[in-house]
Amino acid sequence: MTKFSILALLGALGGGVLLWTLLPTAAIWIDGPWLAWAIAGLVLLLTASILIPRPTTDSWKRAWGLLWLAAICFMGSYSSLYLLHHRVDHLASQVREVLQDEAALAKAKAEGRVADIESITQDLNTKRAEALASYPGLVFDERGKNRVEASSLELTYLEYMVSVLFVFAFFILAWMTAPPVQKFYGFTAAPAT
């Protein structure tokens, strides 16, 4: 069962290194419980990798339980990132709308359309207030827009990372149910293959 142990160890260490590398830099809103979930998952995966090589039914049970918990933690981390991503994407569309309105306002001013200027300004102020209520530090220019979009991309990478870790944990726990593996750990009622 060394291969499962090595896999779990590789998953935990590789995940840790990736997490370190991918830690957000553009960072709008990339906070929240996702990191705690991910770290808990990595620790559980690491602990499971230590238990897996011991050929006793008790270590199988403990390792299997830990792998389930690790998978749940990675799913929790993904859920948290997913919800954050929704908020960031909404913010990105709000910024795009503000920038569009600003362009329309400039055009209306240049063409001297007084009625349009009034309605667009009103609309623009409402949208700006809504976006600022979501994220107070927001700047409505190209740099601000790029920052929000970069955050969205970082979130995507993080989502991929915790998803891969989930698959890792889940695959190992699934492989550990195989009848020959059950026999290795000393389960007497394992079915014949």
Binding site: F74, M75, Y78, S79, Y82, L83, S93, R96, E97, L99, Q100, E149, T156, E159, Y160, V162, S163, V164, F166, V167, F170, F171, L173, A174, W175, M176, T177, A178, P179, P180, Q182, F187, A189, A190, P191, T193
Partner: protein, 501 residues
């Protein structure tokens, strides 16, 4: 009668658009999105890739043999089982070929660009191996119930293959499948069908007919939905009462007819634009693997990246072909055969037909007509596809395209409801024994009627979550028994396979 139903049912459409979703609805909305999210998609893709590598790209090397099995050259009429290989394939296909092939593809392309279609096809190819493994195991571990009917699928291979210690996984799978059968397999299908029908044909019904049902407000639509609900409930009830034998016979006719009907419509549009096909295919491939593009969409210019193409293509492929969910093995378990691998091989044609052929046709129509770029709302996938079929035909003939999609939606929905009843039926038998089948079928038919008439909201979202949950239990069985699949495969191909016909 109509007055009675109108009085007791919160009819047809969401009660009030202005109210917005409740906290519970939002919770289940997010829960369903997360359950069908990236971890789920990557898990299914990884399983497909794992079996592809372990069995040496069987989906390409053994395609000819699989087709020969489908053509009946290896049928064993005296073998244990209830339906032929082809009927089992059709029963499984009738569940998977559905709204995902029409609306799901459009959504994927709108959000991920035309490159998403290529990823869909690639994930369809991986899904072929997941289906091969699960259907091979379904035959290997199937049993016969007290009434002489076959029960097979993940609930059997989890409990009998992995051992009694894991019987709880089988129970979890069966419970999830029963709940899911009432959601995505039943009420959602009935609702989609009723919506497609009222949208397309509601106004063209004879006025005398609609007036006689007119009660209050928008009662024309409501009356049509009530009648449709009754008609579909009776039709589906008549089929499912006959068990897998009748389901197999009906699906054996319905699936080829609807596939030819829909694919024929798509091919017509493609042939009209044949000059642009090579260029369009080139664009699809380049967008899938390289170039990013920007599309003017609602809310401004939105960049579409390779990552988006991959994510959306993968999501919609899994949604469409159901490979890894563990549903199709329940139908394939009923095939008359002594050879588990033979059923696995024909089962792997399912994702190929569903995702690689039918979904690609839809994708080509959407891209050739350019509708994916001009359409404003990506969530209205079926409407987008309908528009693409309409615009793809010469002026004056657009209505044919529109009706093709509408009729396709109706047929796909009915066939899906028929097959999902069997999945629930077998899981109910596994949980409670054969006596529970008739009550289950009765409730199933009742829910079909309700589905055509009410907006299920939370119930549908909950069923979505359980639908995804089926895959988690199934995958444990597939990976735990992967050595059994490999052993069966090697044994089968170590013997000469001569046609039995």
């Amino acid at each position: 009668m109509i007055e009675f139903f109108s009085a007791v049912l919160p009819l047809a459409v969401p009660s009030s658009a202005s109210e917005g979703p409740s906290a519970l609805e939002s919770f289940f909305d997010s829960a369903a999105d997360i359950a069908w999210g990236l971890p789920f998609i990557l898990m299914l893709a990884a399983v497909g890739l794992y079996f592809t590598l372990r069995l040496g790209f069987t989906q390409f090397r053994r395609m000819g043999h699989a087709i020969a099995i489908g053509r009946g050259k290896y049928d064993e009429p005296d073998a244990p089982g209830e339906v032929t290989h082809f009927q089992a394939l059709c029963a499984a296909l009738s569940a998977t070929v559905g709204v995902g092939n029409i609306g799901g593809v459009a959504t994927a392309i709108w959000w991920g660009g035309p490159g998403a279609a290529i990823w869909m096809a690639l994930f369809g190819l991986l899904g072929m191996m997941t289906k091969f493994a699960s259907c091979t195991l379904a035959i290997k571990y199937r049993v016969t119930d007290e009434e002489g009917h076959i029960i097979g699928g993940p609930m059997e291979f989890l409990s009998r293959g992995l051992g009694k210690r894991f019987a709880w996984l089988a129970t979890m799978f069966a419970v999830c499948a029963v709940i899911a059968s009432f959601g995505g397999g039943n009420m959602v299908q009935a609702n989609q069908m009723a919506t497609a029908f009222t949208h397309e044909f509601g106004a063209s019904l004879p006025s005398g007919m609609t007036e006689s049902f007119a009660l209050v407000g928008d009662m024309q639509t409501n009356s049509i939905r009530i009648i449709l609900g009754l008609v579909v409930a009776v039709l589906v009830g008549l089929v499912i009462i006959g068990g897998i034998k009748r389901i197999g016979r009906v699906a054996g006719v319905l699936v080829p007819v609807m596939a030819v009907f829909y694919v024929g419509g798509a091919l017509t549009v493609i042939f009209i634009h044949i000059d642009e096909v090579p260029k369009t295919l080139g664009t699809m491939f380049s967008l899938a693997f390289g170039g990013d593009l920007t599309r003017k969409a609602a809310g401004g210019a939105v960049g579409l990246t390779v990552l988006q193409a991959l994510t959306w293509g993968a999501k919609r492929a899994v949604f469409s072909n159901e490979a890894g969910l563990g549903s199709a093995p329940i139908a394939h378990a009923a095939a008359k055969t002594h050879e588990p691998v033979r059923e696995g091989l024909i089962a792997m044609l399912g994702p190929f037909i569903d995702t690689v052929i039918i979904c690609m046709m839809t994708a080509l129509v959407l891209t050739l007509t350019g509708v994916w770029e001009t359409f404003a709302d990506g969530s209205q996938g079926a409407v987008m596809t309908k528009l693409a079929f309409e615009q793809g035909l010469p002026e004056g003939y657009g209505w044919i395209g529109r009706y093709t999609v509408a009729i396709g939606l109706i047929l796909f929905a009915i066939s899906t409801a028929i097959s999902w009843s069997y999945y629930g039926d077998r899981c109910v038998t596994y949980l409670f024994g054969p006596k529970a089948v008739m009550p289950y079928r009765t409730v199933y038919v009742l829910f079909l009627f309700l589905g055509a008439n009410i907006d299920g909201g939370i119930v549908w979202k909950f069923a979505d979550v359980t639908n995804a949950a089926m895959a988690f239990w199934n995958i444990i069985g597939l990976l735990g028994l992967s050595t059994v699949v490999v052993a069966l495969y090697k044994d089968y191909f170590s013997r000469p396979q001569e046609p039995l016909e």
